[in-house]
């Protein structure tokens, strides 16, 4: 096998470790998958009644794609925790002392987390459908929406690996995790940005989470929550550009940080 072949094979071996975790401790992973569903029920059930939707439309039509995008952001927490824990417990060092390419370690994380996010989306979509959310566009458009969501997750994965390698202990991880929430909430995930004060709405509009949520809503043909603005009108492009930008910045940062573990 060539270098890339081995890197993929080793990456898969490392990713399989996470799959075994799912089997050995199903409680944890199932909670992880159902947590976004809980958010969906919480916000939909608690606030849905107070949301005036045109034509008596269900709030879930707006909320479900928002929670999709939000769950991609919250996936970051799992990535960070896994990376920090492995480094702290010496597992990363053990991997690094093996005669395999260092790419494989990062690739393993990547494969496992993307699979996890895929299941998260499937569970969430099933819950959404059960609550009355529908996509009104074509099946292909729906697939494209899910692809954009996973692209956002892939981009945030590198942010997570970078932060995970940069912080040394579990307590700091908890702090960073708390900081992720306002980032997620300051978006069009729950409400139209036009309902916010102008300056806040503008920030929320430019949140990458909003771009992906808006793009997904437009592909699902769900109601739009973006105010009329440049970024709102070009959500599809923004939902591509934001993740690509994040990847361009954080993929090199994360891999450099990984190599510099030896400094």
């Amino acid at each position: 096998m060539n270098r890339l072949g081995w890197a993929l094979a080793d990456g898969w071996t490392i990713a399989r470790r996470d799959l075994i975790h799912w089997r050995m401790q199903p409680g944890n992973v199932i909670f992880g998958w159902f947590f976004p569903v809980l958010m969906l029920l919480m916000f939909g059930g608690l606030l849905g009644g107070a949301m005036e939707r045109p034509g008596g439309q269900s709030y879930y039509e707006l909320l479900v794609p928002g929670i999709f995008a939000l769950s991609m952001l919250f996936g970051l927490e799992g990535t960070m925790t896994a990376v920090t824990t492995d480094a702290a417990k010496g597992v990363t060092d053990r991997f690094r002392s093996l005669p395999m390419s260092s790419t494989a370690v990062v690739m393993g994380r990547c494969i496992a987390d993307m699979l996890d996010s895929l299941v998260t989306l499937i569970v969430l979509a099933a819950a959404g459908l059960a609550l009355g959310w529908r996509w009104h566009g074509t099946f292909l458009e729906a697939l494209a929406a899910f692809a954009l969501l996973l692209l956002l997750r892939f981009a945030l994965l590198w942010v997570g690996i970078f932060i995970g390698l940069s912080i040394k202990n579990a307590q700091t991880v908890a702090t960073v995790q708390v900081l992720i929430w306002p980032v997620g909430f300051l978006s069009s995930a729950f409400v139209a940005t036009s309902t916010m004060p102008d300056w806040l709405g503008a920030i929320a509009q430019w949140n990458p989470i909003s771009s992906t949520a808006t793009a997904a809503r437009s592909l699902f043909d769900n109601p739009d929550a973006a105010a009329a603005s440049w970024i709102g009108d070009h959500a599809l492009v923004a939902a591509l550009i934001w993740p690509l930008l994040l990847i361009t910045v954080f993929l090199p940062l994360a891999t450099t940080r990984f190599r510099h573990l030896s400094r």
Binding site: T13, K89, G90, R94, S262
Partner: protein, 317 residues
């Protein structure tokens, strides 16, 4: 490359800018012959772990040279990693996976086929007496079992050199004995082992040769017996009954001491050259001063004293 020297380090230097992450190395030298166990002994912060991390390619040195089995740790990292096993300070096994799943995974990462990895895992579990717990999650293992699993994981492909970094730190005495017997078995099988420890007893038990590390530099090197002999003097221990006597005793025996007299609660230890004469003189002068010690004994120096003598550091309990 000399066929004999499996580990060679010449003037290795490593400086941590902040000085917080760990102790650096200031001209670290080491030569280890094939098939021997070398103990790297030193207090916390002496640079033991830094040395192991550099030799196992996990950390880059600032300057100097080091080779493992003739391969340069800086330029031929992958070749080095093919020939080493590393047991780090923590049991670096996946706690959710079973012992067997861990070993199969590390086998696959050493590029064994699935069948060979499974077979090898079985052999190692047997060898390290983990067969009964093989299919339990590693989180349920005792500290000693986890370290043995850790040892097994670093032996999947018989390494030429095994690094064992403080293998028994935090283990109870039973766990310590388990790990020691594991390391002894390896030595029987001809593996070269570099063991770091703060426990003198451990180095004395396991190592053929000991390098004592202080502030990132080897300050003494030799077999445990050589190191003990280097300190030379025998010790005369006086057990007193009254702490108030200590100053008077010190004044009386000061002239006999061949080195620094040490006081530890009620025990006064005097390094002496001529055993019998010292014994007689001390006994006589104490009796003249009407001081009755609880006990007087003569003994050879312990490694602890060598350690203290050379590093000036307190001996870890």
């Amino acid at each position: 490359m000399s066929a004999e020297r499996v580990i060679v380090a010449n003037d290795v230097r490593k400086n941590y800018p902040g000085g917080t992450e760990g102790a650096g190395l200031n001209g670290f030298d080491l030569q280890v012959s094939a098939g021997t166990v070398v103990g790297l002994l030193g207090p916390n912060g002496a640079g033991k772990t830094t040395a192991v991390r550099i030799l196992s390619t996990l950390l880059e040195m600032d300057s100097g040279e080091a080779t493992i089995a003739g391969y340069d740790v800086r330029r031929q990292g992958k070749e080095v990693r093919r020939r080493i096993g590393l047991v780090g300070q923590y049991s670096a096994v996946d706690e959710i996976l079973t012992g067997r799943q861990n070993l199969v995974m590390f086998g696959r990462l050493n590029h064994l086929s699935h069948v060979s990895a499974v077979r090898r895992a079985g052999e190692l579990l047997e060898r390290f007496s983990l067969a009964a717990a093989a299919d339990q999650p590693a989180a349920k293992y005792s500290g000693g079992m986890r370290r043995r699993l850790d040892l097994a994981a670093s032996l999947i492909v018989a390494p030429a050199v095994l690094f064992v970094d403080e293998p028994t730190t935090g283990l109870d005495p039973a766990g310590r004995l388990e790990v020691w017997s594991g390391v002894r078995d390896l030595v029987g099988a001809g593996t070269t082992v570099l063991l770091t420890t703060q426990y003198l007893e451990e180095a004395d038990q396991l190592a053929d040769r000991i390098s004592m590390l202080k502030e990132g530099r080897v300050v003494a090197e030799g077999t445990p017996d050589e190191l003990k002999a280097e300190l030379g003097a025998d010790w005369l221990d006086l057990e007193l009954s009254d702490p108030a006597d200590i100053p008077r005793v010190l004044a009386l025996v000061g002239g006999l001491a061949d080195g620094e007299v040490r006081v530890e609660s009620l025990r006064v230890s005097i390094p002496v050259k001529d055993r019998t004469r010292a014994l007689v003189e001390v006994a006589t002068s104490l009796s003249e001063a009407k001081i009755e010690p609880e006990d007087i004994t003569l003994r050879r120096p312990t490694l602890d004293e060598v350690f203290l003598h050379l590093t000036g550091a307190a001996v870890p309990a």
